[in-house]
Amino acid sequence: MMSFDQNAFLIIFTASLIAISCGLLGVFMMLRKMSMTGDAISHAVLPGIVIGFFISGSQRGVEVIVGAGLLGIIATMVIDFLRKKAKVQLDASIGITFTLLFAIGIILINLLAYKVDLDQECVLYGEIAYLPIDLWITKAGFSMGPRITWLALLNLLLVITFILLLFKELKLTSFDEGFGLVMGIPAGGINLALMSMVSYTTVSSFEAVGAILVVALLVVPPATAFLWTKNIKSLIQLTVLIGIGISIIGYYMAFWLDSSIAGMIVSVAGLVFLVSAVFNSKKYKFKSGTRLEPEALSS
């Protein structure tokens, strides 16, 4: 049965909110060539989530967000430490850090399995399908609607504020970090702030789409949009549109095939990406444009 009921709307709405938050941050992660660092962070926050969960006793605790935020920052610092002090190359530093932290997270889940109500599969794949029954009940007993939707809304508002405030700095340091530093723009601080926003977004979204699939939402919509545009504003707009589009199609596809909604959203995103890549590939591209001088091609 494909019907547009209230539950379907809530799920699609929430998924879109999450996809937009991730996409907005993902645009800058991609432009900084830090998509894999984003991947690493979203894996690495797992032990923070588990410990926060253990301390607060529920997924609702602030401890979970703080724990994950801390782990995200620790992960960036460990990657930096391995690279600078231990002189391990960047990609290997990323690989070592996230696998270790993620492994610790899985071990903690298994160790604390009887003490915390945290499901390995929920953390990893998320289950947005149960969203409409997980309600936010005020103290007076009044139901405010699905809790995760509110979390996603808050998250999106913070992400938008963050980007509006620091748009110019994010743009400059993504394009030419050295130039930013020379002008006295605190590139290191801006980078750390972005990483913190990514870890916060990961935690805020993990219940719905799972820690691993957050990566897909961070990475795929911006990469797809980047294939179509050369302008940062339309890049951002297109990323948002793709985020909403894949949420809608992904939901109905999942409904139809009776499978994971988050997984299907990502699969649809993958398909859209692939089509865009073929359409915009150098081989098949006949769009007009200035011919580049050979030297420009080599750089």
Binding site: M30, K33, S35, M36, G38, D39, H43, L82, K85, A86, K87, V88, Q89, D91, A92, I94, G95, I96, T99, L100, F102, A103, I104, I106, I107, N110, A113, L124, Y125, I212, L213, V215, A216, L218, V219, V220, P222, A223, F226, L227, A254, L257, D258, S259, S260, A262, G263, M264, I265, V266, S267, A269, G270, F273, L274, A277, N280, S281, K282, K283
Partner: protein, 430 residues
Amino acid sequence: MENFLYFFSFQDASIAFIVLGITILGIGSAYVGTFSFLDNKALLGDAISHAVLPGICLGFMLAGEKNPYYIVGGAIISGSLATFLSSWLKENTKLSEDSIIAVILSTFFGLGIVLLTVIQKSGNPEMAGLNQFIFGNAIGILEEDLWVYGGLAFIIILSLSLLMKEFRLLVFNAEFGKAIGFPMDRVRLVFNILMILSVVIGIQAIGVVLMAALLITPGAAARFWTDRLSSLLILAGVFAVLSGIIGTYISFVLPQMPTGPWVVVSLSTLALISFVFAPKKGILYRFFSRRKYLTKMHRDHVLKSLYKALEEKKSGLSQSELLALYPHHKRETNRSISYLRKRSQLIIKEGFITLTSKGKSEAMRIVRLHRLWESYLNEYMNIAPDHVHDSAEKMEHLLTPELEALLDNRLKYPKLDPHQENIPRDHDEL
């Protein structure tokens, strides 16, 4: 303890089989991984290991059970597709390698999750076995699987050993390889196939999410101990096997524990130990050799001060005079004095310190190097005489006898430095 003995005495044939399997696949993965680490392609392995999940699921769906041939076949196909796509995207789009790897990794994994849930809902009782592919369970490996995985691992190890020369070229200097007529594109193709195979055999034991660690971490850890490729490969293999066995043992003792995370934690511990303790490149070693160097530097400075006193026609310095020269380094100065005294480079008589002839010749050597370097800076590097001191203050502790000879030769055995001070020679009398 009982468990420990039971496990490691290998009296249970299936445990012996599993340990053997983990050993072979550990060596295989570490072998391939070390090459890709050296090739700066560490994260491609991560992408491939996530990317095999949909293939595994498809293999399962087609066979209707956990048949190793179908699963390995499916994994190879989706792994190859991911590898092909990543190089196609690199050539044909403006996306950076970083984005491409992240896109491939996450979409294939998403597709895998979809297939996994579809299988789950189909109610196939063998489903439980499939979940092991996410985080790995070495204990769940059956004898039949082992023949397939073991066979593949053997192929990997054999081909890498036979094509060692070609892969070495690929990693260190692919351009040069091409220039001297090696078919480098084909070598890379073979290497990518081996990488996919190594991921495929590791998945059952380690799981798709953490497989990257088995490829990256052994090589990175071993790199701290050696610069030679052969010992690097051996050491990486040893690290991988060791952590593989530890992880398997823990899964054996605590059956609810997946193997993968424990393998990764053991591997990372070994890596951490390497980063900190390895000779030459380890953090601790670097720290202590710097400390040792700083102490030697200070001893050199004490000797130099005593020598300068000689130049000023004083026979030596009183202990308090010497201490006063380094007001913030009292303890170090005292330590240097007692060290030099033990090595009979100086003698203390009623609080008055004089150089022995051995000490004098060492002090002369340092002063000579200092002044030779000053002359070199001045003459060859156009540096004004009042700017040469600081650099010489550092170089005097570093220059070797060969460089001293070379300096002397270039400067034609000078007598005076840019400050018109005597450059002391061993036969000089003071």
